[in-house]
């Protein structure tokens, strides 16, 4: 998987491919790690521990702190693979890494996003981005 890291870190796990972009704020419950956006086709699905594969973030700029709160409370995805760089998602993971350095959620952009959506599991490794 050819990945460009926005927030560096190691992660691996089963993918959760989102059919639509997701706003963490109003879209994910940090207490449970499930999607709560009523307009999202994957309402009720758990993101915790998965490699979240989504085309981009969406909507509100409060999403960064909700992602950070998910990372703090252990309900976050293991890592996030995006179709295009998303600063709001990157910031949430970046600040969480500053505050909670033992709980890193790497964020990367996939060079071949459609391929990422067809993968059942992804290993995110900043040292081997072509693996």
């Amino acid at each position: 998987m050819d990945l460009t890291f926005l927030v560096s870190g190691h992660a691996s796990g089963p993918t959760l491919v989102l059919d639509q972009p997701l706003s963490f704020w109003g879209g994910v419950d940090p207490a449970t790690g499930t999607i709560i956006d009523a307009a999202h086709p994957q309402l009720g699905v758990a993101i915790t521990g998965r490699i979240l594969v989504m085309p981009s973030g969406r909507g509100s700029s409060s999403a960064s702190s909700v992602l950070a709160e998910c990372i703090r409370s252990g309900t976050a995805p293991a890592g996030i693979v995006l179709g295009e760089a998303d600063p709001i998602v990157a910031l949430g993971a970046l600040v969480a890494k500053e505050l909670y350095p033992d709980r890193v959620c790497p964020v990367a952009v996939a060079a071949d996003y459609p391929a990422a959506t067809r993968t059942e599991s992804i290993t995110m490794d900043p040292n081997h981005t072509n693996g």
Binding site: L6, D37, A38, G59, S61
Partner: protein, 408 residues
């Protein structure tokens, strides 16, 4: 890429808090492929809304540092003027207050509004600023012609502390050109005068623009409040941080000013507006309405006047909440005329971001596409969308009053 002063901040020469702030700014610069940083002259921070312990941990980590540019604060999770409205636990309220105090102790102004442009600050055309809060971002860029990227939690404070932001996104000329044109010429002039039209158009634009800047043609005039409504909706259903309305917004005197000749065109018709409304309303129970919500984004004094006129001295049977900034409310000066009719005025926060409404009382009605979009996830309340007039009539009657002929 970094100036000497940037390097000094990054290396801790002005203290560890500034170094943390600069790591966030440069981290974002890397994520957004910025080649350098630029000066910003104002900041608007939305990190003062309590989104869990992480938001407080971050603010506390910065404790002791001061912002270096004039900085306003977005809505919080509390209403300090009407504290009895807030239903969250005492512990959550204590943390929310600690978060607010952390930001004011950094020198940010206790404005507590998502619409600081209404009575507090008016960034100039072309001014480089760092604003968070998606509806304020889109207003500053589109209506005022100021320049901010779509900032959010953390980077807002980091920019306010360092006075710097990545030279990327909507700060730059090349990213302010439209990539898609929405043509509403086929719709009636009467429809295009209505606020509800702007809300539904915003939803359509947001969901269809992707990362492209949208331009709208076919609107001859619009009030600032209508443009505020359009932007807030487009920033909810999508990631719109800037839109142009040709002949109305300041960067778009003509279509050619803002859009290449080969830009794709979306022709908006009445059916698209009806579908947008149906999608908002899906899931709400119109037979069991518990409350009505106006003022997302925070109402202007003109909008408060319009609510007062629509009420026409009639008391409400359903709880009617009207959210506005404390600055606007003081300047407006007629709060008593609303409250004596049973209206609940909310300041410093908003009814869809904190615990004010009991979700077991039923669905809600709102004139805000943004409220309808986020309330189900945030507070567990589904919403019906209606015009402000429909919302007021519903609140007065105590049950749903629709006037479909009025706007579509």
């Amino acid at each position: 890429m970094l100036s000497d002063a940037d390097q000094a901040m990054l290396h801790g020469e002005t203290g560890p808090h500034v170094a943390l702030a600069m790591r966030i700014v440069t981290g974002l610069a890397a994520a957004s492929s910025a080649r350098f940083l630029l000066d910003i002259s104002r900041a608007h921070i939305d990190g003062c809304l309590y989104n869990g312990q992480a938001s407080l941990d971050f603010a506390n980590r910065l404790s002791g540092v001061q912002v270096t540019v004039p900085t306003t604060l977005n809505v919080s999770s509390l209403d300090l003027l009407h504290p009895d409205l807030i239903q969250s636990t005492p512990e959550t309220q204590r943390r929310a207050r600690a978060l607010m105090d952390a930001y004011t102790s950094m020198g940010a102004q206790p404005t507590w509004t998502c619409a600081p442009y209404q009575a507090l600050v008016r960034p100039a055309f072309g001014e480089q600023i760092a604003w968070a809060e998606s509806s304020a971002v889109v207003f500053a860029n589109s209506v005022l012609g100021a320049r901010t990227d779509r900032y959010g939690d953390f980077i807002d404070a980091a920019a306010a502390i360092t006075g710097r932001a990545p030279a990327a996104g909507l700060h730059l000329d090349e990213n302010r050109q439209a990539g898609v044109v929405f043509d509403v010429a086929a719709l009636s002039t009467d429809l295009k005068k209505r606020d509800a039209f702007f809300a539904m158009l915003g939803l359509i634009i947001g969901s269809r623009s992707g990362k492209r800047v949208p331009a709208v043609v076919g609107i001859d005039e619009a009030t600032e409040d209508q443009l505020k409504t359009l932007g807030a909706a487009a920033a909810s259903s999508g990631s719109v941080g800037l839109f142009h309305v040709v002949g109305v917004t300041p960067e778009a005197l003509t279509l050619r000013d803002v859009a290449p000749a080969d830009s794709p065109i979306v022709e908006v018709d009445g059916e698209m507006l009806r579908i947008a409304r149906q999608q908002v309303n899906a899931g709400a129970d119109s037979s069991r309405l518990g409350s009505v919500h106006l003022g997302t984004p925070h109402y202007s004094s003109n909008q408060l006047d319009a609510v007062l006129a629509a009420l026409a001295r009639r008391a409400v049977k359903l709880n009617l909440y009207v959210s506005t900034g404390r600055d606007v409310l003081v300047r407006w000066g007629k709060a008593d005329l609303l409250t004596e009719l049973g209206v609940t005025i909310v300041t410093d926060t908003c009814t869809y971001v904190t615990s004010i409404v009991d979700p077991t009382t039923g669905s809600a009605m709102t004139d805000s596409a943004k409220w309808a979009y986020y309330a189900p996830g945030n507070i567990g309340v589904r919403a019906l969308f209606g015009s402000m007039e429909e919302c007021v009539e519903t609140a007065v009657a105590g049950h749903l009053v629709e006037r479909n002929d009025q706007w579509i």
